[in-house]
Subunit: 548 residues, 2 copies
Amino acid sequence: MGSIIWIDIRDRYGITQLIFNEAVTKTELVEQARQIGREFVIMATGSVIERSSKNQNLPTGEIEILVVALTIINKSELPPFTIEDETDGGEELRMKYRYLDIRREPVRKNLELRYRMTQEVRKYLDGQNFIEVETPVLIKSTPEGARDFVVPSRLHKGQFYALPQSPQVFKQLLMVAGLDKYYQLVKCFRDEDFRADRQPEFTQIDCEMSFVMSDDILNTFEGLAKHLFQTLKNIDFTAPFPRLTYTDALTYYGTDKPDIRFEMKISEITLLVKGKGFGIADNAEYIGGICAKNCSEYSRKQLDELTEFVKKPQIGAKGLVAVKFNQDGMVKSSIDKFYTQDDLLKWKALFNAENGDLLLILAGEKISTLSALSALRLEMGQRLGLRDKNKFAPLWVTDFPLLEWDQETQRFYAMHHPFTSPNPDDIPLLDTNPADVKALAYDLVINGTEIGGGSIRIHNSDLQQKMFSILGLTQEQAEKQFGFLMNAFKFGAPPHGGIAFGFDRWVALFAGVDSIRDVIAFPKNNAGSDIMIDTPSEISETQLKELF
Amino acid sequence: MGSIIWIDIRDRYGITQLIFNEAVTKTELVEQARQIGREFVIMATGSVIERSSKNQNLPTGEIEILVVALTIINKSELPPFTIEDETDGGEELRMKYRYLDIRREPVRKNLELRYRMTQEVRKYLDGQNFIEVETPVLIKSTPEGARDFVVPSRLHKGQFYALPQSPQVFKQLLMVAGLDKYYQLVKCFRDEDFRADRQPEFTQIDCEMSFVMSDDILNTFEGLAKHLFQTLKNIDFTAPFPRLTYTDALTYYGTDKPDIRFEMKISEITLLVKGKGFGIADNAEYIGGICAKNCSEYSRKQLDELTEFVKKPQIGAKGLVAVKFNQDGMVKSSIDKFYTQDDLLKWKALFNAENGDLLLILAGEKISTLSALSALRLEMGQRLGLRDKNKFAPLWVTDFPLLEWDQETQRFYAMHHPFTSPNPDDIPLLDTNPADVKALAYDLVINGTEIGGGSIRIHNSDLQQKMFSILGLTQEQAEKQFGFLMNAFKFGAPPHGGIAFGFDRWVALFAGVDSIRDVIAFPKNNAGSDIMIDTPSEISETQLKELF
C-alpha cells in the first residue's frame, strides 16, 4: 500500500496490529517503524481504531492501533526458526532455543493449560480437605523399583542421597502422623534408559488418605477427574466411570490400559478353531480375535499391511488370519482348506459379526497373543478413526495381581510396589500360591493411557515384613532399607491408601499432544540431556575432589 | 470415679472425649475400653452428650461421646516420647520419630499454616495474572554462588547434572520467552556447611516480571506480603512499607536487615569522642552508639554482661563504654577521666537522650563496629522486650551495592548474583570504580529477617558479558557457563526483574518459631542428615559401578 506499514505486536495475551500511515503519521515515525525487525521488543502508543479488513481468527482482529509514538526497547537477531503456530524449526533446534519456541502460541497454550490444571487440582483437593505437604527431595536410595538418581554427600564422603521416584514412604508416614488427607504436586525422578515418552524428571499428583477402602479412593479421585474434565475440557461426566477388573481388561482388550473409546473387544475362539488340522492353531495355547465392523472390503494390500504390522518384532505375532463376511453373505478367508463355511459361520456367531465385517485372528501363547491383539485392536481403531483426540473415555482397572514372577531373576516382583496391600481374602494364598494373590490396587486409564495408579497400603508391620520376604529381601535387608516404615506401623498406624497421577501425561492428554515434552517448559531429550543449557556436563576438578 | 472410663480420641481436627460408664454401658465394652493404650487407632460409635465438667480450652470441650460400640483398628507400642503440646522428647528423638512428632498439635499446626500460606500465595499471584511454570531440577553446575549438589549421569559417564540453587536463569529465559509474569513455589538446593537455620533443600517463592521497574516489583510483592499478613495473621498494613537504602540501613541499624520493631537507632559520635586523650577512641576509624531508654539504672552486673556480649568472638568488639544519664541529672561513665560532664552532655544531646537513659558506645573499624552495634541493639531490644513475636515490622532495603570485594581471592563478587542490573546512572563507574556501583536490588526484611530479595536483571548481552568479566570470568568461561543466556538476550529480550522469597523462613516467622526445621515436615539435621530414614547412606556396588 506504499505509505502504510503494519506491524504485528505479540505479547502473552495475543497479537494486535499496529498501523503507521504516512498520510497521517509523522515521517520520522514511519522511518522508525521501518527499522523494526522480527521479534524486536517495542513500546507503542496510539489510538485503537476499527480495522478495515477484519481478521475473525484473532480476538483482537477487529481493531488496530494507529501509532503516534514508538520506542524500540530491544533489538533481535533473526530467529533460527519462524515463530508461528506452524514453524519450520525441527525439534532439536526448537529445544536449543526453547525460549523462542515458547513464544509460539501452541507451546504457550500448553503451559497455560498445565498451570490451570494445577490450580484446579489444588482447588478440588483443597475443597475435599486435603493438605499439601512437601516431602524431601534428598532421600535414601532403595533397591526396589526403577533406578535411582543419586547425589554424593560432601559432608559424609562415600555416602549418597537419592532423588525420590515417588514420595511413597513419606506420604505413608504422613498417614501414620495423622494428617489423614495428603496431596502434593511433586517432581519425581527415574534414571531410566530413556524412551520417547519418558523424562528423567516428571511431575506427579501424589495423594494419600487414611481410614479408607478402595471405593473411597476411587470415588474421591473420580471426583477429581470429573472436576478437571468439567473445568478444563468443558465435558460433564455424569455417569460413574466404568470399572473393569485386571482379568477382564486382559481378556477383552489384551491390556491393562484399554482404550475404550471404541468397542471391538477381543473374543477367545480357541475351541472353535482347534482340531481342524490347521497346525498353527492346533498347537496354540490361545486363539483370539477382533471383529472390525464394515471392513469386509479390505483389499489384499490392506490385509498385508496388517500382517506386517502384527509381525513387527515389538508385537511379535507369527501371522494373521483374516475372515471376511461379505455383504452378500459370502465368507472369505485364507484358511478355507481347513474350515468349512459352516465352521466360519460359527466364528461369525461367536463374534456377533454381521455381513460386511472382518474378523482378524491371532494364535499363540496366551499372554503374548492377547498383547498382540491389543496392538492390532488399537491399530484398527486408528485406521477407522475411532480414536478421536477430542473424545475421552476414562475407566478404572481394578484387582491387579499383587506380584509378578520374573523368569530371569527367578523371583517375584511387586506389580505396583512392595507397600501394596493384598486383598484380605487372598492373604492365605501368600504362603501357598503367591502368584494368585490379588492386590487392592487400581489404575485410572483414559484413552488407553495409564493416567494414575494406586492401592490400599499395608499398615501392619508383620504383613509388610512378610511382603518383603516374598520379594526376596532378608529380614536384615528389609530392616536396613525400610525399618523406619515397619517401625512406624508399630505406633498406631491407620489403614490408608492412595493414588498418584502422572501429571505430565494427563496434561498432554488434555492438550491433545502425543509427547509429554510438549507440556514441559524445559524438557530433556531422549538421551536425558538439555541441549539448551548443555547438561549433563563436566564439573570442575575442585568439585570432584570435594566429593570423591 | 470407679466405673467410668474416659478416653481422648485425637484426629487431624482435634481431640474429643469418649466416655464409658459402667452404669449404662455393657460390661464387655468397658472391658474392651480398658484394653486401649496410648496411640491406639480406634473406631467408636455413640451419642454426643453434654459434658459435666466442660473444658473451655478445646473446641469440643463441651461435649463427650457416650460409646455404644468400639473397634480397635490398630494397636500401638508405647511411644518414645509423650505426644502432647509440651513433650519430653528431645529434638533428636523427635526427628527420628518425626511421624509421631507431627501428631503433636503445634507441629501439625505449623504444617497447616504452611499449606494455607501456599494457597494464599497462589491465590494472590494468580489474581495478578502470574503463571506458575515448573523449571527443571536436573540442571547444570555453575561455579558462581554457593556450592552445588551434583548428580552423576549414568548415560553420560563422567558428566553431572546439578540441583538448582534457584531457578534464576530459567525464570529469566521464561521472560525472554514472553511469559511476562512467572512464579513458582520451588525446591532449591545448596550444599553448604550447615548452620542452625539452613537446610540443604529449601523452598522459594520464585517470581519474575517483564516490562517493569523496581517500583513495580516492590508494589506487586508488597501486595503479596500484605495479602499474607491479612489472610493468615489478620493484620492489615494499610500504609506502605518503609523503604530504606542499604547505606541508611547500615548507618542507622548496622545491618542490611534491620529489625525495626523498635527504634534505638545507631548514631555516629566519632567527632565528639575523638581527641580527648582516650586512646581506643582516638585510634578508632568509627565511634557509634545506641541510646537505651530508661536503662540508666542498669547494674554493674548488667553492664558487665553486655560487655561480655560484645566481646564474644562472633561479635568481636574490644570493649563497651556505658554512659548513664541518671534521673537526677547526674552523668556517670567509666571514662570520666577523659571526658568532662559538659562533653558527656554533648553526647546526650547528639543521641536525644533523656534523664534515665543509657548510652552504649563502641569504637573501632567502621564496618565491624557497625555490625557489633547491630548485635548490641538487638540484644538490648531482646532484654527490653521490644521484639514481640506477635508484632511485625516489614520494610524494603534498596540500592544495594552491585559488587563486593573479596580480600582473600582479590576479586569482586556479585552481592546478589551476576544477573543483577547496575543502576543505569552508575554504569560509567563500572570501568572506573566498580565498588561504588549501586544495583537495582532490593530485599524484603521483616523483624530483622531477610524474607526475600531480588533485582532488576540485565537484559542486554553486552552488559551481561561485561559483568562476567568484572567477576573475573574469561569470555570463554562465560560463554561455556552462560552462553545460552547471553545468546537468549540477542533475540528480543524484554526488560525484566523479580524476587525470590525464602518460604520456609517466612512460614517460621508467621508461626512464631525460631527454626525453619519446625515448619518442614521432614527436615534434615545440622549435619545434613535425615536420621529417620538414615540418609545420606551407602549405595550398592552395582549402583556405584553403573555410575563411575
